[in-house]
Point group: C2
Chain length 227, copies 2
């Protein structure tokens, strides 16, 4: 990369880290859990989030922010779940940053929420460098994308706590080797927790939701309020 | 986007445009056709290129450059087709640029080639801003990604001459509306030429190859040598 852009980028990323740290302090102060979702375009983030929001809203106060270069399609789709959703349209910018989150959060009262989901722009590269103050990262990759994605986009898989392998209902029609994919995931991140899911068949959604709820419980415990 | 990074980026992109224009002059001087392939991670660029290289090498002198953040997997896979292939490993950089192409081309004798393929990093956002001196852009998107990708990543679809809808062998197992997808493609780029393909079943590959060959013929005609 050009040395001048490397230097400016380093500086901008440092500023983003400061803004993200401030966000994280705000989230921690009210015990808000922030779950970030990243993936390639079309790996199923929105379908997955739609299902998750519908499950979560029965017991928690939930909201979502959703990033895209253009269109409000995803926000419209997610609003059907009945939770507050805000679209962030980035124009030509390939990722969300902490300032965008801060600006958009202005419209929500954090103390009224237990749980915030952030769906990033579909991109397995750039979002890995931008902290948004989230509690944890979830990376999704679809069985239709091939097993080698963790090796090819290691930074994103390395920083994620959970990997959701999505669209597993399509496995019978593909030459996708699930053990090889999990092996590659563990090669780049030995601690990553893997869940096999399908938003269409519902497979893995309950297991996934139970894992996520542990977070909310722990946070609630920290601020000494039952969930 | 931060105003400082916007300014530096504009400057860097301008320098890239100069380097790309110089590449284009070199390509034109020997009548070399350069076809660039872009898509999301896992849309099938490498599988598709593998088939294309095997068809092309029977009648043309072909080579390929392939970009990835990490690994040499794709180059190894493409070398099986028997044509010269060079991997460009970008580290954390989310796109190829003209300088990377120039540096890697150093090892190839352009006058010995009719046709060069460049497979970019899997990313539907960033590569759209970086000219590589190519003759034309091909964007691939898989039926597994959903119909709305052209609307959500308009810049890439707008600058592409061809759109390959890939993995159409999976259509019977998906709720993908092909007419809607083509409609969205034409909404963002009314002139885009659309081909339905499957590297697995072979559907559309002959049609696609015929379209590509027109380019090589035209270029050969321009420098008054029959292909």
């Amino acid at each position: 990369m050009n040395p001048r852009i490397v230097e400016v980028r380093k500086d901008i990323l440092k500023k983003n880290d400061v803004a993200a740290a401030a966000l994280r302090r705000r989230f921690d102060a009210t015990g808000l859990i922030v779950t970030s979702l990243v993936s390639s375009p079309g790996a199923g983030k929105t379908a997955f989030l739609e299902r998750t929001l519908s499950m979560a809203r029965a017991r928690h106060r939930v909201a979502a922010l959703v990033g895209d270069l253009a269109t409000e399609c995803d926000a419209e789709r997610l609003r059907r779940s009945g939770v507050p959703v805000r679209q962030i349209t980035t124009g030509t910018v390939c990722h969300l940053d902490a300032e965008m989150i801060e600006r958009t959060l202005g419209e929500l009262t954090l103390a009224d929420l237990d749980w915030l989901f952030i769906e990033n722009v579909g991109n397995l590269v750039c979002p890995a460098s931008w902290d948004l103050g989230q509690t944890s990262d979830v990376v999704l990759f679809a069985v239709t994308e091939g097993e080698d994605k963790p090796l090819k986009y290691p930074k994103m898989f390395r920083r994620s706590r959970y990997a959701l392998i999505t669209k597993v209902d399509l496995l019978p029609h593909l030459d996708f080797d699930i053990d090889r994919a999990i092996g590659y995931l563990r090669d780049v991140n030995p601690d990553i927790e893997v869940v096999l899911t399908s938003a269409r068949s519902g497979q893995g959604l309950d297991a996934w939701y139970d894992i996520l709820r542990q977070h909310v419980r722990r946070a609630a415990h920290r601020i000494e309020e039952p969930v």
